[in-house]
């Protein structure tokens, strides 16, 4: 509801422009996010898909400013949230006015994001105590029950006194989601929120994300390696490879008309129910090291269409409205 009350403009909620995030490690500097740009509208879900090391998690950690310390730093680009560039804001300001109440996050494993020695009431009350200092204990209790109800935990009054170990995996993730949306964020970043869950639970949590978005109008960044989850939940999908977005577009464009050879290969290589094949297509090789990434297209070494030109990084070509990919094959379509 909150997002609906804020003025509705055509301006995107989030605009990330040429974001560069590095990890400074003993072995050298890892260019984890190397020029990432995208935007996200209010009430929309953007999926970021990619493999481990593609930079999808560090992109989102840059937005919510939870980069690993001291190695992680944003070295370039801008992150405009509701028109404000939050890259330059000091940590104190982010903690007070942004993280938790405007931008929030759900992580993969609910067992590690919940503290085993505090009750659900203690942990669920935390965002209220932190962001709304004038709430009474009674009000916090009521608000917590309301949050548990919102994430469809049955008998929330009785559940409040439970500890995380008394919850099943699915219920724990519901509780984590309740904490994440307690302070009514406008942007929810969900990093592999269903990957640790069984499929019959995963589908219930996916359904919960859909319902919460309908009810609150929250924008969601859904980070996942599962193309099925991306297809089911996302309005738009960005495909990341080796620190860059290689293709972005509406979910339908990405899944029906993938333009980048990496997206095509990825979609071809996943087995699909009801479509048994003689042999799966396998992308050869492995992703490049990001300590010293290739100058040209980073996928070139694994690409079936490699050309001499690929030694220069390809421009991003807009194929149709909102659908673009970075590949020399598409040059003629520009």
């Amino acid at each position: 509801m909150l997002a609906n009350n804020r003025q509705q403009t055509s301006q995107p909620l989030l605009e990330v422009n040429d974001l560069q995030t590095h990890l400074v490690l003993g072995r050298g500097t890892l260019k984890a996010v190397d020029g990432v740009s995208f935007s996200l509208n209010r009430g929309q879900t953007l999926g970021i898909v990619g493999e481990s090391g593609s930079g999808k998690t560090l992109t989102s950690m840059s937005i919510i400013r939870l980069l690993p310390k001291p190695s992680g730093r944003i070295v370039g680009g801008s992150i405009k949230f509701d028109g404000v560039d939050i890259v330059s804001l000091p940590e104190k300001e982010i903690a007070k006015n942004w993280r938790g109440n405007r931008i929030s996050m759900v992580l993969q494993d609910p067992l590690t994001s919940l503290n085993p020695v505090y009750s659900i009431a203690d942990q669920l009350g935390q965002p209220f105590r932190y962001h709304y200092k004038d709430m009474s204990r009674r009000e916090i209790r009521d608000a917590s029950i309301e949050m548990l109800r919102k994430v469809r935990i049955p008998a929330p009054e009785k559940r409040l006194a439970s500890y995380p170990h008394q919850f099943s995996g699915g219920m724990r993730q519901r509780a984590v989601i309740a904490m994440a949306i307690a302070a009514k964020p406008e942007l929810l970043i969900a990093d592999e929120p269903t990957s640790a869950l069984d499929v019959t639970i995963q589908i219930q949590i996916m359904d919960l994300f859909r319902k919460l978005q309908e009810e609150t109008g929250v924008s969601i960044i859904m980070i996942t390696h599962d193309m099925g989850v991306a297809a089911q939940l996302c309005d738009r999908v960005a495909v990341m490879y080796a620190g860059r977005i290689v293709e972005i577009g509406d979910a339908r464009d990405i899944f029906k008309r993938p333009a980048h050879p990496y997206t095509q290969g990825l979609l071809q290589s996943i087995p699909k129910i009801g479509q048994r094949q003689k042999r799966l297509y396998a992308i050869p090789g492995q992703p490049p090291s990001l300590f010293n990434p290739p100058k040209g297209c980073r996928f070139a070494d694994r690409c079936p269409h490699r050309m001499p030109k690929c030694d220069v990084y390809p421009p991003t070509v807009e194929l149709e409205s909102g659908h673009s990919a970075a590949c020399w094959l598409l040059e003629s379509k520009a």
Partner: protein, 333 residues
């Protein structure tokens, strides 16, 4: 081809747990029977807590069953002599999910692959090193990999090393426990194709445990669906996946996120969560979540109803089907 290499009959494993004098029993595996034919890939699917991990441990002779029997070739594993068990452990090898924890970080690759060979009395040192180079080549790694340590390899390459280790003693049978789920999406197909190739080349029989149903459909011959310790449906993979006879199989398959944005997964297909193996629901253990629940399901455990050929489902929905459960029981006894 269709002679069984492994026959599991009425296998049950209970664990006693509890503290402070309060004893409880975890019914991890209950009365499970199936057989795996030579050269096939048999898949076990099910969610966490369904008992598939315990079942694989029993089959690898890493746990002792509470009752029941496991016969491999001519060896009865339950109560087998040390000599028979040693013979079995050469014949049955395993590849595990996580290639980061399944390879000893202090050994070079040649040590990782040759150590089990040495324990099994395989040739002399030179013969073992020859075998190391041979299996590395088979799994697509250069001979120079033998002198490196596991941390110098990526996840996909490590899984190749684990496969090479399993392959080295020339086993007829391999247990693959979630062999690709820890790997990156673009690497998974490579490893899957490698497993398919070596199966063909060496006539291997696979038992695969996986939660990825699309992978299971792609990769296996027969599939057993487990729920809270019981097998609830078993049959050829194309039958089980297309007919979806047991309501739990239906729910599992309907829950796999469809990588097509125009094909929405049904949202309210299944409710609730898996029960506890400590205190499983009465009757059919799936009944609290089943959309087709009948009165009988809450009190009686359903028998196995044979659907056709080798395909059966333990659900009262099939009560009126031609074949009776009794006939099936007789056949598998």
């Amino acid at each position: 081809m269709s002679s069984p290499i492994l026959k599991v009959s009425n296998l049950t494993k209970h664990f006693a747990t509890g503290m402070f004098g309060k004893q409880t029993v975890v019914r991890a595996v209950e009365d499970v029977s199936f057989q795996i034919n030579r050269g096939e890939t048999f898949a076990l699917v099910g969610e966490s807590g369904c008992g598939k991990t315990t079942l694989t441990k029993l089959i690898l002779a890493l746990e002792t069953p509470t009752s029941g029997s496991i016969v491999f070739d001519d060896i009865e594993l339950v109560g087998a002599s040390r000599a028979d068990l040693a013979r079995y452990r050469r014949a049955a090898q395993a590849v595990f999910q996580d290639p980061y924890s399944s390879l000893n970080p202090r050994l070079r690759v040649k040590g990782i692959i040759s150590e089990p060979l040495q324990a099994q009395g395989y040739g002399d040192r030179a013969a073992r090193m020859d075998r190391v180079r041979e299996v590395l080549k088979i799994v697509g790694l250069p001979a120079s990999a033998a002198d490196l340590y596991p941390h110098e390899f990526s996840g996909g390459q490590r899984q190749r090393i684990a496969i090479a280790r399993a392959l080295a003693p020339q086993p007829p049978f391999m247990v693959l426990d979630e062999p690709i789920s820890a790997l990156d999406v673009s690497i998974r197909a490579q490893i899957l194709n490698l497993l398919t190739d070596i199966q063909k080349e060496f006539g291997l029989t696979y038992l695969i445990v996986a939660h990825d149903l699309a992978l299971v459909e792609q990769f296996s011959t027969n599939v057993g669906v487990m729920y809270l310790g019981n097998l609830v449906e078993l049959g050829p993979v194309e039958k089980v996946f297309s007919e979806r006879s047991h309501p739990y199989t239906q729910a599992l398959l309907a829950s796999v996120p469809n990588p097509d944005p125009d094909m929405r997964n049904p949202a309210d297909m299944i409710r609730g969560e898996v029960g506890s193996p400590v205190n499983p629901p009465s009757g059919c253990k799936f009944h609290p979540r089943c959309p087709f629940k009948m009165d009988i399901c809450t009190t009686e455990f359903p028998p196995r109803y044979q659907l056709d050929g080798k395909h059966w489902s333990a659900c009262y929905l099939h009560k009126d089907d031609r074949a009776t459960a009794a006939a099936l029981e007789k056949e598998t006894a």
